[in-house]
Structure formats: C-alpha cells, structure tokens
Amino acid sequence: MSQPFRLNKEGLINRNKKISFTFNGKKLFGYEGDTIASALIANGIHLVGRSFKYHRPRGFFGAGVEEPNAKLQVEFNGHSEPNVNATEMELVEGLSATSQNCWPSVNFDVGAINNFLKMFFPAGFYYKTFMWPKSFWYKIYEPFIRKAAGLGVASIEKDKERYEHKFEYCDLLVTGSGPSGLASAYAAAKNGAKVILAEDKPRFGGTLLTDDVSIDNLSGKDWAEKIITELKSMPNVTVKNRSQVFGYYDHNMLVMFERVSDHLEKKSKFTPRQRLWYIRAKETILSTGSIERPIVFGNNDTPGIFLSAAVKEYMKVYGVLVGKKPLIFTNNDSAYETALEFKKNNVEPIILDTREEHSSELIDEAKSKGIDIRFSHGVIVANGYKKVKSAKIGKLNKDKNSFEKIETVDCDCICVSGFWTPSVHLASQSGNKLKYEEKIDAFIPDKKKQHETSVGAANGSFTLEESLKHGFENGSNLSAKITETKTEISIPNVNEKKYGAHDKFWCMPLPKNENPKRFVDFQNDVSVSDIEIALREGYRSIEHVKRYTTLGMATDQGRTSNLNGLQLVSNIENKIVPEVGHTTFRPPFTPITIGTIVGREVGMEYMPTRKTPMHEWHEKNNAVFVDAGAWKRPRYYKLGSETLFEASKREAKNVRENVGICDVTTLGKIDIKGPDAAEFLNRVYTNAWMKLPVGKARYGLMLREDGIVMDDGTTTRISENHYHMTTTTAQAANVLSHLEYYLQIVWPELNVNVVSTTEQWAGAAIAGPKSRDMLSKLYPDLDVSNEALPFMGYKEAEFFGVPSRIFRISFSGELAYEINVKSDHGMFMWEKMMEVGKDFGNQPYGTEALSTLRIEMGHVAGPELDGRTIPSDVSLNGLVSKKKDFIGKNSLGREAFNVESRQKIVGLIPIDRKSSIPEGSHIVQDQNAKLPNPKLGHVSSSCWSVENNNPFSLAIMKDGKNMIGKKFFAVSPLKNKSIEVEVISSHYVDPEGKRVRS
C-alpha cells in the first residue's frame, strides 16, 4: 500500500497515524493531518467529479476555500453530507467519499454527452429554450432541469449531531492567522485587549507555512508557532483554529463557524459537531489574505491543472506531489517558488513565463538551479481527457494576441499563476466600497465603513515585511484606543525574496482553427465564449452578465473566476475594470451547514415549553395536550379507547349536567395598581369602569386604535387602587406591551403601574349546575350563596389553609367560579378539588370541551376576534360606551364599519342535524355556482352541541342578523365538503344568560 505521490519527509502530517477511508468504494489510506484532497492526490487520484453543465471530468484545482471542483458527497459519523469541499475536509477514520453529478460513475458518465452537444448549451440556454410552450414548464422542463442540476444529495434522515451557538464580545477580532493577523493579534494582546484570533484552517500561520521566509532568524513556520504559543498562554486571548469568520453584519457583529469535532474520530456525547459564534467586536482586523487567480487557456479545466500556490501547499504541508512532470505557467514571480520546491524534491519543472526575459531574485535563483524557463511563453491548450497528458505551448508575440513556435510538451500537471486577488469579502460585507488597485489588478478595501481594518494581502500588500509592519501597527493602535495602554513592540527582522513586477496578462488567445473551451468559472461551467455571447446579446451591467451566464454564482462564489470575468468584460467593452465594477459579496464566505445556523433550537428546544403547576396531574390522568402558544394545555382526558370527539362530548355534557374543573392557569394575568388605575381602565376598555365597586369583576373589551377588537377578559377590583386583569392566553404578551405603551408614552401623567402575574397564580374553573354545592364543600366557612357571592362577585378566602381568590365568572355559560392560588399551591388545589368533587360527579375537562361550551353559548374567542372584527360584528356593541372616550373609539365611526349589510356573528346548524361543518368553510348561496363563487361569510368555530345533540357552528356573515332563518351552503373545498345549513342566532343555549346568574 505505498502512496506513489507521497514525499518521504516533507510535510506537517503525522506519518505515525494512518487513516483509512474509501473513495467511490475504493479502500485507501492517508495520514492524520491530510485533507481528503491531499490523501487522494497522494494516491494518484485526480478525477473526482464531473462538471455542472457539460459533465466534463474535473480534478482538484486548489488546496483550500478557493476549490471550485472537488465537491464530494461525504459520509462520516453516521451521516451523509453533500458538496463537501475535499480540499478543506480533514481525513477522519472510516470516512467514505463519493463523486457527485455523475452517473453511472465518475469514470463513465452518461451526462458527458452534453460536452459534445455544447454548441446547444450556450449562456442563457435555459432562458431561451424553456420559454415555450408554456404548458411544458411544470411537467417536462422543470423536472428535467431539477434532475440535471444540483450537485450532491441532501440527507433525508434526521440530523443526530449537536450544534451550538455562542455569543462573544471582544475588543479586537482578528480574522486569519497569517503574518499580518498574527502580528495584529500579538500587538493588541500585549496592550491588554481582549482578542479573538480566528483561523479557518487546522494549522495557524497562513502563508508562513509555505513561504520560504525567515523572521528574527526563525523560519516562518517556527515564528508562527512561537507567537501562537505565546498568544494561547495569555488570558485575554482566545485562539481558534478550524474557525471561519464568514459574515460581517450590522453594528460590527461578525459570525464565525467553528468545526469543533468533524476531524475527531471519537468525541464525547456532548461535544457539538459545529458551533456558530456571534461575535460583537469593538474593532476588527481583516487579515484574510489573498487567493491566487488562474490564467485562462484552452481546456484549462482538465484534471491535473492546479493553482501554483496550491501545488506548493500540497508539497510543504501535506508532503504530496501533484505530478512528476510539472509545467508551470505564470505571469509573475510567485510560481517560481513552486518550481523551486519541485526542484528541491528532485522533480524537474518547466516554467512558462508570459513576461519577456528579465531578471529578479527568484528568476535568478531558478536559473542558477538549472530550471528550464521559457519567457514569453504560455499554454495554449491542455491535452488529455481525464488527466492532463501534454500541453500545446507557444511563444507569445509582442502584443500577446497570437503565438508562434507552437510545440507539444509532455506533462502530468500544469501549475497556473495569474497573480493574486485580495480576499475582500468581509470588508465588502461590512459596507466598505471597494476600490480598484491598478498595481495588482484587483479590488482592495476603501474607506472604513464600520470598524474594519484590512491588513496584509487582504489589503493588497504582498510582501511579508509590509504585512507584518501593518499588522503590528494596526493591532497596536486599534487596541490602544480601547485599553489606553501601549506596549512598544519592535518589528522583527524579515528575510524574504523580492518579487519582480507581474504581467497584466490573464487569458491566452485561441489557436487558429481550434476552438477548445476556455473556462473562466469552473464550478458553473462558464467559458470565455459564454461571456462573449452575453455581451453580444446586449447585457452590459456586470450584475446582468453574472446572472445570464451564472459567472461567479456557484458555491465557490467566483473566488477564482470573478476578476478574470471582469477583465474579459472590460476588454470586450473597452472599459477599464473599475468602470465595469464588481458584483456583490454576500455571506456566508463559504457554505456552512444548516445545522449550525439552527443550533440547539430543534425539537423540544425549538421554543420554551410552559407547563402549569398541575401539568403532572394531567399527564398522569391521560390528558392529551394541545399547544397554546408555548403552553401545554390538556385538550381532553382520555378514558379507555375514547376518541377526541367522544371524550370532549362526555366532558362538556358533564359540565352541563353536573360539574367539571378546568385548568385555566394559562390565561394572561396583569396586576394593575395606582391611584389612576380606574381612569386608565376606562380609557383602555370600551365599557365604563369608573364605578366598579371593590370586590366586583367586570367583563371588558379592548380595541386597537383602528377600532378592531384586540382582546377581551374580566378585570376585578381587588382593592381601591388595585385591579386584576385577565387576558386571553394568546394575547397576554401583546396586551401587556399595549398597556405599557399607553402608560409610558401616551399618558405618562397617569399614576399607574402594570406587571404580568400570569406565572404567579394557578387557576382552576369550576363550572356546572353543581358548582356551588362543590364550592361550599371547598370553603365550608364561607357563605357562597347567590346573594353573598353573586355573578361577577369576588371574594378572598382560605382554601384549606391556603390563601385564595374566588371569582364568580363564567366562560362556559354555566354557573361557574374561578379559583386562583399561588402557583406553588396549584397542585394542592387541583387535587383537593378532585377529591371533594367526587360527590358531585366532577370530572376534569380540557380545551376541546371548553370550546364546545363557549361556542354553543355564543361566546366569542380567538376565531371570532381574528383581527378583522369590530364590537358590533360580534354582538358586543352593548359594551361600547357612548358617553366616554377610549382607545379606538374614533375609528368606530368609520363609514365601512356602519353600513347596514356589514358582517355579523350568527349561528349555523346543518339541515340534516348530523353533518359537522368544517371550520373555515365559506358560506355561499349556490354550491354549484361558477367560480369565483361569491362568499357571504365564513365559519369561525364549530362544535357538537351537547345540549341539543347536533352540530352547531358560529359564523361571521354578511348582513348576518337579517339572514336568520335562511338556508345556505357551507362549502369547504379543502375537506371536499358542502353542507346545507340554516342560519340561527349565535346564542344556541340559554340565550337569556340565566344559568350564570342562577
């Protein structure tokens, strides 16, 4: 099991630990510290995927985030993940990777026929072809495109991994641990600032790991290690590797994605897989470095063609040779370092330099080492299908638009360098308008927009000396402003090779009579000719060209293609690049998992669960719960094999005949205190409140300023300046905010305070004809007669030694009471009630029975108070005072609210007295009328009336009161039902309201 392309000594991998994995089913091994990419290359595997549109064979191109091709489906730790970047994913024991976008296999892919049909797939192909006939879109085109598009397969299994979120604050966040980042973090840390240093890769140091430099007589790598060790020992510094800052948001908030355990073979149960950090930084250093850009030439996407710095990284970090017969194609000096590295490992490279013969430190060194350098040369076209075999090269003429002396040279890899593009993504996301720097043919950050400072290569400085100097200076100055401490640091001596000027050359001309594809964007298969077509067809704005050709729109966000695309557009348009402008950079910088974004907020943790103090009792007694906001409420208590329908009918019937108890803890409760409390309530509610005596409750209706009903509930005067307000469960929070708004902003002169007491009180309703008898047993020493405790009366009394509040109020329409005790005593109260209630036939009832009871009484609730109804719509105009002013009163005079035929609440019963009417049904005159069938109203609430033993519904219907006695249809296309109904009064049971007063 030898690895044919692994060097013997070089690299930072751990050769003592072999890691086995599979690729497309084949068993392979690599070492700890390898990425999937480096392990595959060590094994001589280059063909890893097929391209998006033409299904052309593709191999690795980069060694990190810039990789456009090598996206794999990866299975590890029991889950499958699509589009994993093979150049970033670290090798872990048992990992299994497969190629995407190919069928039946990456070696023989049927879709590759597209490559031969490429003249039919130009830019805008989809837009042009799938336009007509229109009817084909859903059935033919859309499914076809769906099948052909996309890369990997998302898992349909539940993600069992743990993801976490973390909030952090710091003085200085440093994004990237290259030379400038290390220098900034170090200087700031020395000034006592709270520093976070984030590095995307597993190893710190950035280019210091691969460049042949020395700092203070240490190699770059050793210096980085020294600084990192010191930073890690400082309490004010957090150092994080495998952590990418991917987004720069408002008010200097940055978001970081930490890969906590993807590289671990074993981890503890509670170790998260990945972690999302929300970092609020006072200052941010963007030391994100730069990415090499390619030179465009014929068949430049053939496997075996790499960015030259990536090739160097494979040698120096992973000890891997990408090839043994390398061709190096460059327009600048940096690729010479790759050539020298090859030479050091006894591989003979050939350098093709687009520049005319000249001299520089690196060129001279290469020459002295006997490397074959051909100036004014370039690769015209690469030969080979699944792997590059040779290259047709030529000598460029003076204006570089044609060539002579064409020859073919054998090679097994081509290392391309078209100079460097600063990674300005985060700076741009912060709102920084970028500026074009002609010296480097790329954009760099302009004036600061937030608190971002770009240093080093990210700011266009490509020498180590400058990067370190900027890093130390900015780190020191920015932190000194915060900590008001300045520690002098001497800038270290640097030894680096001097680069000569680069050549402003980025695309090889086409050879005569040949038309090979020259790719600009590998991941989306956008070639030079596609951009030419887009421009020919009139697209001018770079944003339009981008969308029409999909240039730079793939998951790599055009890291290697954007600038070459811009150069092409500006050349054709005869504009300079800054006039063409750049497209928008958006977060995330690289794809991140959905799990990380979601974090722990899944399943039970999606939202808090609110339980009443009696919850355990409900659970033990077979309650089936329903969600009411965050609350869990018993919907019904299941006896034996009862259905919801049967149980709720039994429970409701028992309330009408005997007595039942219901947990009403979830109702919103607000304590209102202060000398102006009565005046405040008088303004908040539509009815009069000034004369409510102490010890009495009143039903109140609250409007919004636009006249729509906001909420209803009872409020009780506990003492002279103390009221207890109840709200519906759903509106509790809104009502509190509403009251606070008026007290703090509109009427600050009112001396009133409000506070939520929902959680402080446990509540139980006792309802039914026998409720008074039961109450007298619960309060043996209290006079609970109709005279002593009348309807809407209130008393405070001890409940078996526990202080309690008794309200004689009713939602069920029966004789009823509501008892409140402190939450801690809720369970005691409930169990006592169950015990005492036995003699009266008491049964607990849930929300379903509660609904039945209120619906047949015609009491309105959420479905009627739906944000579209005014008091008169729901027969509550009796509660609207004509004498006083209140919130929303002025709106009630609006014309539309007062037309004769306005919607009103009515009752509906099915003609057959059997068919239940689905809630949400529309009321229509003619069930067979042509669509759209005019809608006369809708069914808001439905129940089975236990009193009359037939279905009954409430509806909001146009001109409702005049419709009583008439017949209509309630149609529900959703349930495919149409039921003939008769309109009756909304008060189906006890319309005079005798029972509550009995």
């Binding site: 909030f167 948001y249 408002d250 008010h251 200097n252 908030m253 929300y278 609020r280 709102g431 303004r683 300023e705 636009d706 905010s737 606070e740 708004y741 703090q744 902003i745 509109v746 009427w747 600050p748 006083k884 002013d885 002025n890 709106s891 005079g893």
Partner: protein
C-alpha cells in the same frame, strides 16, 4: 443584528427589543374632539423615509421600557437613543 443602547440598561442585542414604529406620531388627546382627517393621519398615515428616522422600540426582554431610537433606515446606523420623555433632535 443591531446593537441598541437602551438608556436604562446600556448596549444590548436587537434580539431583546421589539419594534414600535414612528416615534414622532402624537395620539390626539383623549376626551377631545378630533377631525376624521387628523384621526386617520394618526391611525394610518406613516412616512417611510430612507435615512434618518426616529422610532420606538421596547426593551421587551429587558427593562420593558419603551425607548426612542434615531436610526438610518438604509444603513442601520443608530445616531442616538433616548428615554421616551426625552427629545431627539
């Protein structure tokens, strides 16, 4: 995510606040006659400026105070925050 300085609690994340609309709208006085035009303006008519906007936020997961925030609606820059009893100029 915005970083809002509550005049009572200090700098807090946007998550803790809820938005309350234009802070310059004045409710007509209670118990006083108001023309339907003035009332409609109060209930419905809001400007939607691009740029500086004085608005209400409630520190709902904090001190529960309503506060005034002067914010640029395009850039989200916050120029000033104040108690509702204070003026923002």
């Amino acid at each position: 995510m915005l970083y809002i300085k509550c005049p009572y609690c200090g700098l807090r994340a946007q998550k803790e606040f809820s938005y309350g609309g234009d802070a310059t709208v004045k409710r007509p006085n209670i118990n006083e006659e108001v023309s339907s035009e003035d009332w409609d303006n109060f209930v419905y008519m809001r400007k939607s400026p691009r740029g500086k906007h004085i608005e209400l936020w409630q520190h709902i997961a904090g001190c529960r105070q309503w506060i005034k925030v002067q914010r640029d609606t395009a850039t989200h820059e916050i120029f000033q925050t104040a108690k509702v009893t204070e003026e923002i100029r």
